[in-house]
Structures are given as C-alpha cells and as structure tokens.
C-alpha cells in the first residue's frame, strides 16, 4: 500500500509530538494527556494479559492427560479463577475503551483532550490499586471461587483469599465508572464544530454506548461484591439461606452487571471493526444509521437478559421464559451488524493488510460465538450444556475470538498513529493468520467435548475426552506463540521501524488528519467537519483523490 501524501503537506512535520513532550518517569506518572494515559493503560493491561495467560497455560498443560499429572485440584481451581478474574476485569473490560478509546476518541471528534483529564489519570491509578490487590491475592495463595464469586461458596466455604480478590474487582470497577463518566461527557461536550451525532465514527458511538453501560451496571457489581465482602468479613447473613438470606439474590445482582459486561467487552470491538473494514475495502460502510441503532439496541437490551445465566439456578420458569425470549431478541441487532459488515465488503477493493485480517477474523469468530449463544438462550439446550465446555467455547469465541482479535486489529490499525512507526507487515499478517488457526484449534474441540458432556472447572476427565483436550492444548500452544509474535515485531518497530506518515492507510476520519504521533494538543488548528465518516470510494481511490477532506476553521479565514 503506497503512502498517500497530501499536496502541500510535509510528510513528517517537524514539531514536538506527545511522546517527545517529556520523557521522565514523573512526566508520565503525572500526565493528563489522554494519549499518554492510553499508553499507561496499554502497558498495564499487557502485563495483566500475560499474567492471565501464564495461569491458563498451566491449566491446559494439566488437561493434556485425563487424570491430571502436576496440579492438585486445589491449585487448579486457583489457577482458572485467577485467569478468569484477570482476563475479564483487568484485561477485557479496560482493553479497548481505556487504551484505544482514550487515545482515539478525542482525536476522532476533534477535541484537544477528554472532558476531565485529571479524572482520567485518577482512574488509571485506581486500576493500579485494583491490580495490586489482585497480585497480592495471587502471592498470598490465590482464590478458588471462579471469576463469578458465587455465594454461598464464596461467603461460607471457600478458605482462600476472597476478600482481597473481591476488593480488587471492586476498585477496578470504580476506574471503569470514572472512565465512563469521562467519555460520556467528552462525547457530549467536546465535539468539533460540524461533528453532529450522525457524523460520529462508529468507534466513537460504540465507546459512548459502552460508557453508558459501564456507568449504569458497574455500581451493581460493586454492591454485590460489597455484600460478599460484608458477609464474609463481618458475618452478615445476606446470602446465607440458613440465616434467612437469599443465595439466588447474589446471582441476580451479579449477572445484572455481568451480562451487560459482555457488551462492555464486545461493543468497542464492533466499533474497531467498523473502522477497519470500510478502510481496507475502500467502501462506504453499508447502513451507517442502522449500525448506530444496533449499537444502541445492544446496549439497551443488554440490561434485560441477565437471567439466561440462571436457567438452572432455581429461578421461576416464567422468568426463564422471558429471559430466553429477550436473549433471542438481542441477537437481532448483532446480526444486523454482521450483515452490514458483510455488505460493506461486497464489491469492495479489499486489501488483506493485517488490521483487515484481524477484522475479518473477528467477524467469523464473533458469528460462531453468537450462534452458539442462541443455543444457550434456548432453555432445554442450556440445561443440557450448562457448566460444560460448550459454554467455555461459547464465551471464548465471543470474548477472545471477538474482543481480543479486535484489540489486535486496533493495535495494528492505529499503531502508526500512536507510535509514529511502521511495523513489518508480513510478520503481522503471519501473526494474524496463526492467531486465527490457533484460536479455532483451541476452542472448536471444546464445543464437541462440552456437548458430549465434559464439565468445566475439573482438572480430570474421562479418557474418552482426551483427543479433544490434546487438540485444544496443542492449539493453545500455537495461540500463545501467535500472541507473543506481535510483542516482538512491534517492539522491533519501536526501535527500528520506518517513520509513519500521518495517514498510512489513506483512511478518512479526523484522527488521520493530524500528524503521527499527534502533537500534545492533538490538532494544530481546530478541525471543522463538513461530512459524515467513511467517505471511501473505490473508483476514486485509483485517481488518488480520496484524501480526507476535513477543513480547518482557521485556515479558511
């Protein structure tokens, strides 16, 4: 792909960028620049990602043979619990919003920063405090409740470090709320002149909707964890049935957060994919308005389906029926999105650059995960596969196949903008393809094993399931290698990569009109927006006239 240089513009403007604005540790730890805070988050969650990954590597090794060979059941429980807690709350939830959302959202709407820069930094510190609790939990011996902290096990029976683990999640939840408040206010108050709601890039829409979900669901999680802490620590009888408490209540509160939480993980991913696909297909995004309504619908209906996690909990059958119905309903907007991405590809001039490979991987894996979600939403099938590897495969397709693929897609798409460096494209393509195959090899067999009855959360299993598990473990090794690759070539690119021009992909969108990396205040002049996003035209591309046509208010005078 050739670098498009706008007429009259220097390819590499000679002025300080946000990275050069200070290099001391202090300048980073006290920064209020949203771009630097994004980098702080990126480093933090990368560490968490590899910690969670290390834990699960041991799990997959253990599952190589039917009767276990190097872990006690106790250690096994602590490992998968740590994996789940870290991956969900310290990687997936903050991943795209807090890194790419933080970095790009202000750029995409033409703002100099987020609405409350100091709150932004504060929320990163909260993440660190939460992370410290999590790491302490691990050092102190771990926790064995799983990432769901189900009562009464977590309150009465577990003799592991539930308190600090719950505290970790509680604290990081406030980081989420603070970030959400900040993004909502930013989207409302800081859009550049001309950036109307229906000219917002879909990434901004998805971050906005995600923020609303964060602000309205996370406090309920905080309460449910606080109640667990109170019951365990102070002996209050809230969930203890023998003293008048109600154990099902915990599940209602927990899933009222945690189902919307899956949309906190997947909506930003959808936003990323909606940016990448039109760019590398050189096509306008099909059905922009519908995509917006679908985002809103997913965020809204997401609050009303939590009970599909409780079909076997003993809730009333009428409740189960309604939750089942609503779970089918929520599949509709997701299907609309998949349809529109596919339609955008149709007759596009597709180039299979690495970001595009990740985006296409997302669409495939998310669709598989979503379809398996429909199985789970129908009560009889769910009763059959509850707590089996089928569920494990389902949520990994959505969360790992979906969100993590999109995370890597975003990383490759915006890497030149963020770091000002290009990376070796062939390595990136190789990693993307390896990741896709490694992923399917790991999780596809789990659908079969689960359907045939292999339960989750056991470290031994009947010998008949060994073939699936060996495939899965081997796939996990491939996947792990594929995750390590970007770490290497992206580090290489930081040191030796070619300088990136301001718009290496000839993309539309305000973030590409400023230099790479952007200056501390994002734009030299206040941008003025006169049209909607994704104005790609395959025909015009060859003529080289597809440069972003964003005007500068002051340069017009």
């Amino acid at each position: 792909m050739s670098d498009v240089v706008l007429a009259g513009e220097l390819p590499f403007p000679q002025r300080p960028d946000y990275l050069a604005a200070g290099s001391t540790l202090r300048s980073w730890l006290t920064t209020t620049d949203h771009k630097r805070i994004a980098i702080l988050y990126a480093v933090t969650i990368t560490v968490f990602f590899f910690m969670g990954g290390a834990a699960i590597t041991a799990v997959r090794l253990e599952l190589f043979v039917p009767n276990g060979w190097f872990l006690t059941s106790d250690t096994y429980n602590r490992l998968f619990s740590f994996h789940g807690i870290i991956m969900v709350w310290f990687f997936l939830v903050p991943s795209i919003p807090n890194t790419f959302g933080n970095f790009l959202m202000p750029l995409m709407i033409g703002a100099p920063d987020v609405a409350f820069p100091r709150l932004n930094l504060f929320s990163w510190y909260l993440t660190l405090v939460g992370g410290a609790f999590a790491v302490y939990t691990l050092i102190a011996g771990g926790v064995d409740t799983g990432w769901t902290f189900y009562t009464p096990f977590s309150t009465m029976f577990s003799n592991t470090h539930v308190l600090t683990a719950a505290a970790a999640v509680f604290v990081v939840g406030f980081a989420s709320i603070a970030t959400g408040v900040n993004f909502i206010a930013t989207t409302h108050m800081l859009r550049a002149p001309g950036m109307t709601w229906f000219r917002l890039p879909l990434f901004v829409w998805s971050i906005y909707a995600t923020s609303i979900v964060m602000v309205l669901s996370t406090p309920v999680l905080a309460i449910s964890l606080m109640l667990v802490i109170a019951e365990r620590w102070l002996g209050l009888p809230i969930f203890d049935p023998t003293r008048g408490g109600d154990p099902i209540l915990f599940q209602h509160l927990f899933w009222f957060y945690s189902h919307p939480a899956v949309y906190i993980m997947v909506l930003p991913a959808m936003g990323v994919v909606s940016e990448i696909i039109p760019c590398f297909a050189r096509r306008r995004l099909f059905g922009y308005d519908f995509m917006v309504y679908a985002i809103i619908a997913i965020a809204g209906i997401g609050f009303f389906v939590w009970g599909h996690h409780m079909f076997v909990s003993g809730q009333s059958p009428y409740a189960s029926l309604i939750f089942s119905f609503l779970s089918f309903v929520i599949a509709v907007p997701s299907a609309i999105k998949v349809f529109n991405w596919t339609a955008s590809l149709y007759r596009g001039q597709i180039s299979f650059n690495s970001p595009m490979l990740y985006a296409l991987g997302f669409v495939g894996l998310f669709t598989t995960g979503g379809l398996s979600g429909l199985f789970l939403a129908s009560i009889p099938v769910d009763v059959h596969v509850t707590d089996t590897y089928f569920v494990v495969a389902h949520f990994h397709y959505i969360m790992v196949g979906g969100s993590v693929s999109a995370f890597f897609g975003a990383l490759h798409f915006w890497w030149p903008k963020i770091t000002g460096k290009m990376y070796p494209e062939s390595w990136a393509q190789f990693a993307a393809i390896t990741m896709y195959f490694g992923f399917n090899m790991t999780f596809l067999p789990q659908f079969f094993a689960g359907y045939l009855g292999m339960p989750r959360r056991y470290h031994t299993y009947p010998a008949e399931f060994q073939l699936y598990n060996v495939m899965s473990s081997a796939g996990a090794a491939v996947l792990a290698a594929a995750y390590l690759l970007p770490l290497m070539y992206l580090t290489w690119s930081l040191l030796h990569g070619k300088r990136a021009p301001s718009n290496p992909w000839s993309a539309t969108g305000l973030e590409w009109t400023t230099s790479s990396p952007p200056p501390p205040n994002n734009f030299d002049m206040q941008p003025l927006v006169d049209r909607g996003p994704y104005q790609y035209h395959a025909e015009r591309e060859s003529a080289g006239t597809d440069a972003p046509e964003v005007q500068n208010a002051r340069s017009l005078r």
Partner: protein, 214 residues
C-alpha cells in the same frame, strides 16, 4: 467574561462550556450512584418481602429519635448548601455569605456523623450486631441489621467524602487560592451533597418506620 478566564481549565476554550460539562459529568455520576444505592435498596426490598415480621420487629428495635434528628440535620444542611451554591452563582452576592453557608453545611454534616456515632454506640450496647449474642430472637432480624449496618455505613462514607469536598472549598476559598464567585465546583459539590441527602430520605423510612406504622 475576563474574570472567568481565571477559572478556565484544560481542555476548555470557553468557560460556559466547561461549567456545563462539569454539571453534566456530575449528573452522569449521580445516575451511577443511584444504581449503586438502588441495588442496595433492592436487596433490602427482597429480604423484607421474604421476612415481613422479622423486619417489623427489627425496625421497632431502632432508635427513632436519632434517625429523626439526623433527618432534620441533613435537610437543613441541604438548605445551607443550596444557599451557598446559589450565592456563588450570582456575582453580586458576597464571599462571606458563600463561606458562611459552606461552613454551616460542613458543620451540619459533621453533626450528622456525631449523632450517628451515638446511635451506633447504643446499637452496639444493645447487641444489635448480627452474629453470636444477637439481641433479637427472629433469625431474619439479623438480616435487617446486617443491611442496616451496611447501608448506613455506606451512606456515612459518602457523607464524609461530601464533608471533605466542602471543607476543601472553604479552605481554598478563604485563602483565596480559588475564586468562589461563579466557580462551577461549588454547584457540582452541591449536587453531590443533595444526592447524599436524598439517599437518606429513602433510608429513613426503610430503617426506622417498619413495624411502627400500624
């Protein structure tokens, strides 16, 4: 509005917008807080529906005097806070009025905490802490008291944060390190204060009135 530039902060170009963003942000945060307390009250509601008698008995064991006095204190503090915020918003009002009202608000907030402390002490003396040696016979009364300690505790923490915020304004304002007139931080703090207040308005009947109505 040359004066206002003194209050202008990154990343804002215009003071009015910054002011509106602050207000908007705190409203979004209050929505979040509403769900926080909402989930707690929902928990309370579920438990109370499951154990009406025990909750009535436990409600009668509370000391309604402390609760009522505290309600009066908190409502008064809301008034002084509102006056402070309105006075600050209008440029012709004096600094002294703003500072006095902020001071009264902080003092009333503190008074609430002190009264609550006496009430907690009495509760402890009367063995109203769930666990061994709990005073009431019905098992589910422990549930009531479990929730009582939790919600009043969380409310007191919120109020303490509110007091800290108000005291901060007083200190910075009295030493002239921030300007009080038209400072949006006062209104934002006031909105937070009112939320803490409104939560109490819900807690009061839930805690003190069960079993006393009929």
């Amino acid at each position: 509005m040359t004066d206002a530039t003194a209050l202008l902060r990154e990343p804002w170009e215009h003071f009015e917008r910054q002011q509106r963003a602050g207000k908007f942000g705190i409203w979004v945060f209050l929505a979040s807080e509403t769900l926080f307390f909402g989930a707690l009250m929902l928990t309370y509601a579920v438990c109370r529906v499951e154990h009406p008698e025990a909750f009535a008995a436990a409600g009668r064991a509370t000391n309604i005097w402390f609760g009522t006095i505290n309600t009066a204190i908190l409502l008064t503090s809301s008034l002084t806070m509102a006056v402070a915020s309105q006075a600050a918003a209008q440029s012709e009002r004096s600094r002294t009025l703003v500072l006095t009202c902020l001071g009264l608000t902080a003092a009333l907030g503190l008074a609430f905490i002190v009264v609550k402390g006496f009430e907690y002490k009495e509760d402890i003396d009367k063995q109203l802490i769930p666990g061994a040696g709990f005073a009431l016979s019905q098992a589910a009364a422990q549930l009531f008291y479990g929730l009582y300690w939790l919600v009043t505790g969380v409310h007191a923490i919120h109020l303490t944060i509110g007091i800290v915020l108000v005291v901060r304004l007083i200190v910075l304002g009295a030493t002239r390190r921030i300007r009080l007139r038209e400072n949006p931080e006062i209104e934002v703090t006031a909105l937070y204060w009112h939320l803490v207040d409104i939560v109490w308005i819900f807690l009061y009947p839930l805690i003190y009135l069960p079993g006393r109505a009929s």
